[in-house]
Amino acid sequence: MAMGGQGGGVLVDWIVALCESQQWAAQSTSVPGVAQRTGATVYFIETLPLPQDVPPGVRPVLSLMAVPGEVDVVIGAELMEAGRAIQRGLVTPDRTTLIASSHRSYAVIEKQVPGDGIGDAEAVYAAANVSARRFIAFDMAEIAEKSGSVISAALFGALAAAGALPFPRQAYETVISTSGVSIEPSLRAFALGFAGATDAMGAPKRVASKPKHFLSLLPIGHAGYDLLIDQARRKFPAAVHDMIGSGLQRVVDFQDLAYGAEYLDLLAGMLALDTEAKGHVLTVTAAKYIAVAMAYDDVFRVAELKTRGSRFDRLRAEIGVTPDQLVYTTEFMHPRLDEVLGSLPAKIGKIFEQWPALVRRLDKFVNRGRRLNTSKLGGFLVLYILAGLKRFRRVTLRHSIELEHRNKWLALVKASAEVDYELAVEVLATRRLVKGYSDTHSRGQSKFERVMSAVKRLTGRPDAADWVRRLREAALRDEDGVALSGALKTIDSFLYPGSSAEV
């Protein structure tokens, strides 16, 4: 089971050549066709030893497709493809050795979700554990990359190590050596695959997901910042420290120390509503989302992040540039007049807002894609200067808008907290919906508002918090808020039975 473009055909050819070299009869089939274009595809090999006494010319009659329940080895070139094989009934506890690369290559429907649509890898491990006789899983994509080869070679190595076919390792390597192309890297990947499988034999490995990295709430040797840290440590219970460590740094980095103090004040307001009995969940949630809300994504922020020295280093590492290579980066900016007005002092910006016709006309001059090369002086300077202007951020129109949103939201949190602690937590967490830039941002904002308006209607019900959580999850499921509308309708159907109130 593989995806088109993964080189499944190469692996199949190797296995057939291997079997034939050991005097086995082997037959392979596949149904590639158009499925090769990145889709899931299936290859099938049937092989058996040729006994000595078979009269010449007599050949086995082999099947052209896999028979569920009678498959000895299933190889999944990607984790979900292994899952698909289990779903097709090809993996059975009495005989199947399941070899899978534990890496994920996400399908479009997983990636396109506005929230987190990644399929549950653990489900595959759980199913493999009950359905396979032996389950061997480890990250072979990494091996392939490390050895400058393809995943097929690593899978071939794993197959050899699994010992499901009674052939010596040498026989496998001979097949690779006589195949003709990129022999050295293939043998390297084969060896690593062999070792990896031997390692993973008893316990299938997982691709470790990075745990959240909390910044510690400890002094860093900067007098002003350390003062804030000290304050925070004294004011807030230990359960909140981790999140504040990250939140405070984000906020101070976004603006300045005073902004950090403002953050701590807002949090203190939340702490006053909180109780230890609930494990300070409210304050932890507030520490996260208030930081996100305060460090909103504006022109100055983007300019600053794009021009930092640390970014230049990270980028070189990310794209794998060697020291002897040069790299130039082009940034794709598309400012609209909205962003320009947002960066003006609030008073001036508001005047413009009263002249929509003028704004539209001006937008024509501004609203276009601008490409800036940040590794050349011209492009760099534009963003560098913009980033420097962040010190005026507090007087901008954008800031006043953000401030207004924030105040409204936190007022609702407070109001909710008085009647329903869990609901207040959910109201805080709903801030997750506001993200992205321009249209995407407006869409997220409007989803947020729709959930907030439902909060008011739900307040007082025992299941209010639960419903707000469901609304948020629905809002993250699709771009246009179809699932959200459905969920809101359901709410209205029990809030106002009989009426057909539309939200």
């Binding site: 990636k111 990250s246 740094q249 980095d253 794009k306 082009t330 940034e331 794709f332 002086l377």
Partner: protein, 716 residues
């Protein structure tokens, strides 16, 4: 240039007598054609027979040596029409295409050919695209054979049988003056096996000889009264000739078994599946021995009445294994037995499903049901009532339904068609959804997420034609799509000419990627590369204008999303009458990379200064809303969970498979998405000037960066 190079396979085509050929079924057929003394070959590419065309295309040298003429036909109709060379001359010809779509297109020529009858063997190799892996509507080629009276061979799916069937097809065709269709299913085309080769045979009578000594016979031309004579001749002469040839040469096979009360009649292509089912029931072994007698029809049309009657006589019941519907063979066998008053019970579509592929489990259940009723003693208790596989019911396995995502095929990394549909999506956001008539080709992937564009497909090159009815006054025009493959196949006349003539008020978007990409990257009339054996570089826009379209826009860079969006918008709102044709051209990335990548690596190795572009995402700036992915779906643009505790959702990430096509930047720009994308131009082997300027730049930039960092707070 095709997707695969067939250099090795071309060598295999030259194997001589006694040497062992190893390879794919479809390549074995190619070799069999040469061994049969074929004089000419034509066809139209498409899975599962593309490789036959591709290998012949690469084997021009071998063909020239043998004196075999090869055409890459413009369509299946062109291919089938070329068999006319075998009507008057004793020359063997073969054509190939996928079925039933190709057979549909070819059927006019095939019907005429079958009426005229042939002197030289005429063989049509059809790739039966039925069941898993198929990309077309599910139908049988059998109906075409019956309606035009073309004999149909369906050999057992192993290389020896298939090769033998090719050779016999020519002989059968000549013996009965009738064209022969050879049907091979998807898996059989891709089955890996071996056979002992024979020497290639140059055609004994050549096309050149024919041209220099033309001959004609008005009795062979399809026009009354000859056409009425043909119809009777088919039954009076050709049918009996075929029947006796098939009988004498034993094209169909009997496999004896000791359980004579029952038997199985099957299409040759079903043999391996049936044998495996019998093995699982304990009634056969892997070496071909069976306890149930089998009648394997390597020829499925015509049926050989005597053979069927002989097989059924004395049997209590017979099972017919016939894939697909309707059950033509089963019906015919019932008629044969009734006429002879044989009372053998016929089982078939009652124990096997009427429709769909006969997979291993389907056959097993069908055979089990048949034997349970008719010969229960043949089955062990375990075979009659096996333990159900428990594993399917395990809750852990059931959970997978929600966790394993479907993975349909989609646009490749850097595909030039992606930005076209991204632009369409943007126009849809502005002007609302439109009726979109889709067509056949890679561009049909637009119907899937993330684009979800396209309502119908009516056949290759028929996208714009399928929007013809919508030629009415409306505020919204229909949009129709057609690829360059479909365009040259028949779209120029059926779709564009049709739209021009009928003043069809709609938008026609021609997706031109320089190749017939969905079928493996074959060249076309409008391909941009030089092709020594074909005439290319005929622009689509010129053809469209030539046929009378006046509103024509040529866009030479599909990655310019803004331009495509604006052109599409203009086409949708203009008052100009008639079709609005947009030709959007950029090279198929799969083919381009195959060409460019090796050259790039070679140059880098040789120390030449080279620039590679790729895209990236600034993780800090990405907010994880995935709007970019909803306008892309590129395999190299993915997501990853971050370690930032302030971020809930995975952020976008571009992996190293990125080819720097530009779509990400263009879309981020045209859709005003977000500033997280950047393009990195990586300079390999920079010159000393590059280095000097680079150092200068990074010195100044570095100074400014350090200056700001000093003034800020240094977080550790």
């Amino acid at each position: 240039m095709t997707e695969r190079s067939f250099a090795k396979e071309v060598r295999d085509l030259e194997l001589g007598a006694g040497e062992v050929f190893r390879g794919e079924g479809i390549l074995a057929i190619t070799k069999a054609l040469l061994q049969s003394g074929v004089g000419y070959v034509g066809g139209y590419q498409g899975a599962p027979i593309s490789h036959l065309m591709d290998v012949l295309s690469d084997a021009q040298g071998t063909l020239a040596k043998l004196g075999v003429q090869f055409s890459a036909s413009a369509s299946e109709a062109s291919a089938a029409a070329s068999l006319a060379a075998s009507v008057m001359y004793p020359i063997r010809g073969a054509v190939t295409f996928k079925s039933t779509v190709g057979t549909n297109v070819a059927s006019d020529a095939l019907a005429n050919l079958a009426s005229s009858g042939v002197k030289g063997g005429a063989v049509i190799i059809v790739g039966e695209d039925y069941g898993e892996g198929s990309s077309i509507m599910q139908e049988r080629s059998h109906a075409f054979a019956m309606k035009s009276q073309i004999w149909l061979l369906d050999p057992r799916p192993n290389l020896e049988s298939i090769v033998k069937a090719v050779e016999e097809s020519f002989e059968l065709s000549e013996a009965s003056n009738t064209p022969v269709m050879l049907e091979v299913r998807i898996r059989a085309c891709h089955v890996h096996g071996s056979f002992v080769a024979k020497d290639n045979k140059p055609p004994p009578f050549t096309l050149k000889q024919a041209l220099e000594n033309p001959s004609r016979d008005s009795d062979r031309i399809v026009l009354p009264p000859a056409s009425f004579v043909h119809e009777k001749e088919k039954i009076r002469l050709r049918w009996p000739a075929a029947v006796s040839f098939i009988k004498e040469r034993k094209l169909n096979e009997f496999f004896f078994g000791d359980l004579n009360e029952v038997g199985i009649i099957m299409q040759g292509g079903m043999y391996n599946g049936v044998m495996r089912a019998l093995q699982r029931l304990g009634l056969a072994d892997v070496w071909g021995a069976t306890r149930i007698p089998l009648y394997c029809m390597n020829v499925t049309y015509p049926l050989i009445d005597d053979e069927i009657a002989d097989f059924c006589a004395g049997k209590q019941a017979v099972l017919i294994v016939e894939e697909g519907q309707p059950e033509y063979i089963e019906q015919s066998i019932n008629t044969i037995l009734r006429r002879r008053d044989l009372n053998t019970k016929i089982f078939g579509k009652d124990v096997l499903p009427m429709a769909g592929e006969y997979t291993a489990n389907v056959l097993l259940e069908g055979l089990r049901a048949f034997l349970t009723v008719n010969l229960p003693s043949s089955l062990s208790d375990q075979a009659r009532a096996p333990n159900k596989l428990q594993i399917d019911d395990d809750p852990h396995v059931k959970t997978l339904a929600g966790a394993v995502p479907p993975r349909p095929p989609g646009f490749c990394i850097g595909c030039p068609e992606r930005p076209i549909f991204a632009a369409m999506k943007l126009v849809e956001n502005e002007l609302g959804p439109h009726h979109v008539a889709a067509d056949i080709g890679c561009h049909l992937f637009s119907i899937l997420p993330p684009f979800n564009i396209g309502t119908t497909t009516m056949g290759y090159g028929l996208g714009p034609a399928s929007a013809a009815a919508f030629n009415v006054e409306s505020d919204k025009k229909p949009i129709s799509i057609i690829g360059d493959g479909g365009f040259w196949h028949n779209g120029l006349t059926s779709s564009i000419g049709n739209a021009v003539y009928n003043k069809q008020d709609g938008v026609i978007l021609i997706v031109d990627n320089y190749y017939s990409s969905a079928t493996g990257g074959q060249d076309l009339l409008s391909s941009r590369a030089n092709n020594n054996s074909r005439s290319t570089q005929h622009p689509i826009a010129k053809a469209v204008e030539g046929i009378g379209a006046t509103w024509v826009r040529q866009i030479d860079n599909t990655y310019d999303v803004t331009k495509i969006r604006d052109t599409l918008r203009e086409a949708l709102i203009t008052k100009s009458p008639g079709p609005k044709v947009i030709v959007a051209s950029s090279e198929c990335m799969l083919n381009k990379q195959r060409r460019v990548k090796p050259a790039f690596h070679k140059a880098v190795k040789g120390g030449v200064r080279m620039v590679r572009e790729r895209f990236g995402v600034d993780e800090d700036i990405c907010t994880g809303d995935h709007a970019c992915i909803r306008l892309s779906g590129c395999p190299s643009l993915s997501v990853k969970r971050t370690d930032d505790p302030l971020k809930d959702d995975p952020v976008a990430v571009v992996d190293n498979s990125c080819v720097g096509c530009g779509n990400c930047g263009e879309v981020a720009d045209a859709a005003v998405l977000c500033p997280s994308f950047y393009r990195a131009d990586i300079i390999y082997n920079p010159t000393s000037f590059d280095r000097f300027v680079g150092q200068l730049r990074s010195a100044v930039i570095g100074f400014l960066q350090r200056r700001r960092a000093r003034r800020g707070i240094a977080f550790t």
